[in-house]
Amino acid sequence: MLPLLWTIPLWPLLGFLLNGFFGRRWGKKTSGLIGCATILVSFLMSVGALASLLSLPERRYLVAPFDWIVVGNFHVPFGFMLDPLSAVMILVVSGVGFLIHVYSVGYMSHDPDQPRYFSFLNLFVFFMLVLVLADNFLVMYIGWEGVGLCSYLLIGFWFRRPSAARAGMKAFIVNRIGDLGFSLAIFLIFWNFGTLSFIEVFERAPAVAAVSGGLITAIGLLLFMGATGKSAQIPLYVWLPDAMEGPTPVSALIHAATMVTAGVYMVARCSTLFALAPVTLAVVAIIGAATALFAASMALVQNDIKKVLAYSTISQLGYMFLALGVGAFAAGIFHLMTHAFFKALLFLGAGSVIHALSDEQDLRKMGGLKTAMPITYWTFLIAALAIAGVPPLAGFVSKDEILWQSFSSPIGHWLLWLVGTITAALTAFYMFRLVFLAFHGQSRYPSTVHPHESPGSMAKPLIALGVLSVIGGWIGWPKVLGGGSWFEHFLAPVFEGAEARLPAREATHSLGLEYGLIAVSIAVGLLGIGWAYQWYVKSPERPEHLRTRFAGLYNLLLNKYWVDEIYDAIIVRPLVGSARFLYRRFDLAVVDGTANGIAKLAQTLAATGVRTSTGRFRLGAVTFAFGCVVALGWVVYTFLRVSG
């Protein structure tokens, strides 16, 4: 199976081409079928690849179908690599992707442009698989910008809506800013390592680090800049909330499960580089924690169901980066996987709610859907519990592991743990605020709307994801709670390079402390749920009351700390303004002006010349006479000088 590794991404590409060219002619039904089929095939192949990978002793398989760019000694093959890390990723991408495709068949059934939707979705999966399977930085960069393109296309899918088109453009440009950092890192890597392939770069990393540590830090920071762009961390997160303009399954696949995790995957993949630069790791951890808290705070007050989930995603990504920052690479990836399950489920659940209320997204116009949509409600509840960190669900396992690592890891810090724990509380609160507002209480939607449970094709994926959200955590059940933390061992070979570079982990952490922290995180989760219950079910008027008292704070959070407006004011508006000023004053006036000026100068010279010939010839006669005088004078002068 492994030699066919490089065909895994080709299936979705085939789906893209088929749907792209013939989709309209074949109608919606078949285009949906093709879309799902290609993803299923690549999922099955991924499973097969994982199986055969397990049998390989050194857990790594490389294949390079052809040479992409060869100039002098700059040699970049179009190569793929399968190792435990990329195996996990392709499984998540194709697995969750397949479920979302099935869900989309139902969700997009009424949309005339369904073929175009499925072709773009398949193209996205293709680029994501290329990104994840790449064996060198440049092929990863293809996937990197490719997924950016697809998110642009899919966010702006309903292009008739100006806000969607604007959001798409914003997403692509902010991603591009991140990609700039990534490409600069690639340049630095090539010129200092002589190659771009992961294996060789990581082999040489220690030698280069020995010579100039600063270089590795610079590379690390630039790579992380790319990651913040793609995974929506401070300061480049502004595009994700607006990305909710796209169809909900798109948000589920791209803006929750796969694309946004590309940054986390990249940092994990380059763990050796990051491990060699403690400064960079610290930056990653701090930004991760800060983003988690910052995003969670904004999620508290959002009224749009998808916006809440968007900020929740940013916050959870912050967790993953926190894990990577403290050296717990495996924990980060584990949370990535579990997050993919329950966040996708949350989005799809929100999707079926919106679908049922005929495209109503405002929480204040929902309520009491518990009875009308039991499956959606229960699966949504499971996911909410998981994200809130209630054992034994997946969310608890991965989040707790991160919190523990951030505390216990030699390069971790208790402050990071504290921020993480506070965020966990906030997460539990806003999730259950959403649950109670949407599903409990009396219905606030207009009577004309009759919410109904979404059809089978949408319900089944919800159930599947629900199951995954529950059992997903068990494969990484930590030893301390009697599990085999199998997931960590599975990824160990990938991160052993990095582990070796990190300061040794003293094993003497007392078990008691670990249990204590686990208890604290569970308590915090329940606290959040109870707090939400208290405010939104017990006494619904309290949030109203608080809103008036802390109006300032409320508005600050509601308007997202006015970050968008600040960016617009300090970057976009001055840029466009100065461009217009430069164009009008400088380009047209000065540069073009000088060119036209020279032309005018020639004309004016000619005009003055003409004016002197007045036609009265006496003037001419005199000038002629003086000419003769001068000529004669010269003759006389030379004559005198000679004879003199």
Partner: protein, 104 residues
């Protein structure tokens, strides 16, 4: 070896004076007739010198030159005056400043 009545310099000086008067006449006069006559004056100044040097070098060529200058002067005067008549007929006056048809 015979002698000139006066040293050569005087002749040249005389011719020079006559020539300058001619030039001044051409440049300052506003009546076309005067200008034409000044030109004749300049020609005569040249004739004088020709004759003087013919005498000094004993070469008859000088005087032949004067003969030719004379014919040229005659031709020039004829044409000049003809133009003058035409201008007068057209402009009603021979004031030179009226002739500015060649204005740029």
């Amino acid at each position: 070896m015979t002698l000139l009545p006066v040293p050569l310099g005087n002749y040249i000086l005389l011719s020079g004076i006559l020539f300058s008067l001619g030039v001044i006449g051409v440049l300052t006069a506003r009546n076309a007739i005067i200008i034409l006559m000044s030109v004749e004056l300049m020609l005569n100044a040249a004739n004088l010198l020709l004759v003087v040097f013919a005498r000094v070098h004993g070469d008859i060529g000088g005087q032949v030159m004067v003969f030719f200058v004379l014919t040229v002067a005659a031709a020039e005067a004829a044409v000049g005056l003809a133009i003058l008549v035409a201008v007068f007929r057209r402009k009603g006056s021979v004031d030179v400043d009226r002739l500015n048809m060649l204005k740029g």
